[in-house]
């Protein structure tokens, strides 16, 4: 339904899009993710024929966006960022205007309005001026205008920005509702919304597609699990095996690090900053193996006083951060070119697997080339630690790993390391 092929866009010297390619199939709800300025809106504006690409082609519903902009626009319902509407018109007037512009006659318009009012929850506000509406209601009107002509394709640019959490949930609910029989491309930088509404996501960063596939697959991208282990710096556990064996001295940081590094499956150990009397380390382990029992056994054997041990689940957010931060690095680019796309696709969603999978691999190839080109000017501002931080992976819970990272160590006394966004947790 939507096909972008090597779209490039330059604004003067700045490169906003760099060979962006993707495909959206009929009936898919696809999340279009990326940090601010990644090129989401630019892509959408090109797809809706508002601006022209500098290079590449795109087609919507089989119509080229450069050759037949009118045909494309007829089939698209588009909600630009922030839902810019004519504030001085009432909701009904505005929707009527859009219907007129789209060549709907009055009886069709009224028929359509019945369902739109219901889906978008506009019954109470039809007579109000748009200026007087809250953001949430404006977004509803924006959605309404995108639906007036019953389009097969919807392109929604950050439909939930500026909304309060309740309104966000509402809008996402509408989108799910609407998405049952339509193709939807939904841009946002709120990842929980994507997880709520979409089965597939395309992640763009600095004008490139860095990931494209079903959410599960994207979550599994980095292939690593992160563990955090914190032991006391000045005390040992009296009564432990090590204490009885004669270890009365608290461990030094090097000792702990070396011991942890020897555990099976650990690929990297790095010290985390702490501001209390503890050694804190993060370990990177392979996906699929859980080394918490080994860590526990080690600690008991050494007689250390364990303050915290947790295994970070890999959320979409982690992958997002990992993908969109250091994306110009060659090695990171390599990692993303996952060739198993097709297989996993088949497992997860058989019906769109063929096309999406094929598209996915195409993209990956493109990306590779891009990255090679861009390596010259790749800035190395992200260091390796940073990358590893993000690169943990798990299917457990969605948890904000990064938040915990930062303050994992100035923890006070809480437990339960599996809770979301908890203040730093420690276990005695």
């Amino acid at each position: 339904m939507i096909e972008a092929n090597g779209l490039s866009k330059r604004f003067g010297a700045a490169r906003a899009l760099d060979k962006v390619s993707f495909e959206v199939e009929r009936g898919e709800v696809v999340g279009f993710l990326g940090p601010n300025g990644a090129g989401k809106s630019t892509t959408m504006r090109i797809l809706t024929c508002f601006i022209s690409a500098t290079g590449g082609t795109a087609s919507v519903h089989g119509h080229d966006v450069f050759e037949e902009p009118l045909e494309v626009r007829k089939r698209i319902g588009y909600l630009p960022q922030r839902a810019p509407l004519y504030g001085e018109m009432s909701v009904w007037e505005y929707l009527n205007f859009v219907a007129d512009m789209r060549g709907l006659d009055q009886s069709t318009f009224k028929k359509r309005m019945k369902s739109i009012v219901e889906v978008c929850g506009l019954a109470q506000s039809l007579g109000k001026d748009i200026n007087t509406l809250s953001h949430g209601y404006r977004q509803r009107v924006g959605l309404g205008q995108a639906l007036v002509h019953d389009p097969p394709i919807l392109i929604l640019d950050e439909p939930t920005s500026d909304l309060d959490p309740n309104e966000k949930a509402e809008v996402i609910k509408y989108i799910k509702e609407i998405g049952k029989e339509r193709t939807i491309l939904l841009s946002t930088h709120n990842l929980s919304e994507v997880e709520a509404a979409c089965a597939r996501a395309i992640i763009v960063s600095k004008g490139r597609v860095v990931a494209d596939g079903p959410l599960d697959e994207i979550r599994a991208r980095s292939g690593k699990v992160r563990y955090v282990v914190t032991v006391h710096e000045q005390k040992v556990y009296e009564g432990g095996e090590g204490y009885r064996a004669g270890a009365r001295k608290p461990p030094t940081a090097t000792e702990v690090q070396e011991a942890l590094a020897k555990l099976p499956g650990v690929t990297a150990v790095s010290e985390l900053p702490t501001d209390d009397k503890a050694h804190s380390f993060q370990l990177m382990g392979a996906l699929g193996a859980d080394i918490r029992p080994e860590i526990f056994a080690l600690v008991v054997q050494k007689g250390w006083l364990l303050l915290e041990m947790r295994r970070d689940s890999q959320s979409l957010e982690d992958v997002f951060k990992a993908l969109t931060r250091g994306d110009e690095r060659r090695d990171r680019g390599r990692k993303l070119a996952v060739d198993e796309d097709e297989d996993e696709d088949l497992d997860v969603a058989p019906k769109r697997a063929v096309a999406a999978g094929a598209a996915g691999t195409d993209d990956d190839e493109d990306d590779d080339e891009d990255r090679d080109d861009a390596d010259d000017d790749a800035d190395d501002k992200d260091d390796d630690d940073d990358k590893d931080d993000e690169a943990a992976d798990d299917e457990d819970d969605d948890k904000d790993a990064d938040d915990e990272d930062d303050d994992a160590d100035d923890a006070d006394a809480d437990d339960d390391d599996d809770d979301d966004d908890e203040p730093p947790a420690k276990k005695a």
Partner: protein
């Protein structure tokens, strides 16, 4: 209804959603009334059944007051608030947007012109019976004013398309139209003959003067139409520029 007319209709009606249009129209007509009847003795001392004063003051009033105010929001406001994106991604061609906007604004200016028709109606055919008016110069004068309005609105539209600030659009339109209207007066005092020729050629008031005398000169008609077409084309290009810039 075609998209052009739909846009024009919306544009025209949106003028009346804010008090601005009312204020401008009312103040404009009140000022015109005072100037026409009382300024320098006004109509009464002229002792002639002529609307010459009307045709003398109206163009200036339109140029410096009404046209800049009416045209400043046309596209500048759409660009600033982002509604342009919404409008253009409807199935509409760029030139339909420009034309629709233009017709909407021109419609309002023509309504104001129409309102001034009350002068001759009241004075010469209606209640007052001030004498029999020569209808030739009247019709020619109004034809001139309509052409003039068409040209000035297109100039205003162009500047509104070029910027996304209403204030800038207003002031540039104000000064450009003001200059074009006053140029005829200054043209004679320009020392360089070549410049003088050019100035009097492009000045709006010199061309309107012949209409007010009842003389419809094809050169003047074509001049106003050319200015209109030129500015509309330029606006269209300026709007299209968004695609590439």
């Amino acid at each position: 209804m075609s998209p052009t007319l739909t846009i024009a209709k919306r544009e025209f009606r949106s003028n009346f959603d804010s008090p601005l249009a009312y204020v401008v129209i009312c103040l404009g007509l009140i000022m015109l009334g005072f100037i026409f009847f009382f300024y320098n003795g006004g109509f009464w001392q002229a002792d002639r059944a002529s609307l010459g004063q009307l045709f003398f003051w109206l163009p200036g009033g339109l140029s410096v007051l009404i046209v800049p105010v009416v045209t400043m929001r046309l596209l500048a406001e759409e660009k600033r608030s982002g509604t342009l994106e919404m409008l253009i991604t409807l199935p509409v061609r760029d030139h339909e947007v420009v034309l629709g906007k233009y017709l909407g604004a021109l419609g309002l200016v023509l309504v104001i012109l129409l309102a001034t028709l009350s002068y001759p109606l009241f004075m010469f055919w209606g209640w007052w019976h001030l004498g029999s008016l020569d209808s030739g110069p009247l019709l020619a004068g109004y034809l001139g004013l309509i052409l003039y309005a068409a040209a000035t609105v297109s100039v205003g539209l162009l500047f509104s398309t070029l910027t996304d600030s209403q204030v800038i659009a207003f002031f540039i339109t104000f000064f450009v139209l003001g200059a074009l209207v006053l140029m005829g007066n200054f043209a004679n005092s320009i020392p360089f003959p070549a410049v003088r020729t050019v100035a009097s050629f492009i000045s709006f008031d010199a061309r309107l003067a012949s209409f007010a005398r009842g003389l419809i000169n094809t050169r003047d008609v074509i001049y106003f139409l050319s200015v209109t077409a030129l500015c509309l084309m330029a606006s269209f290009r300026a709007l299209e520029r968004r695609k590439w810039a």
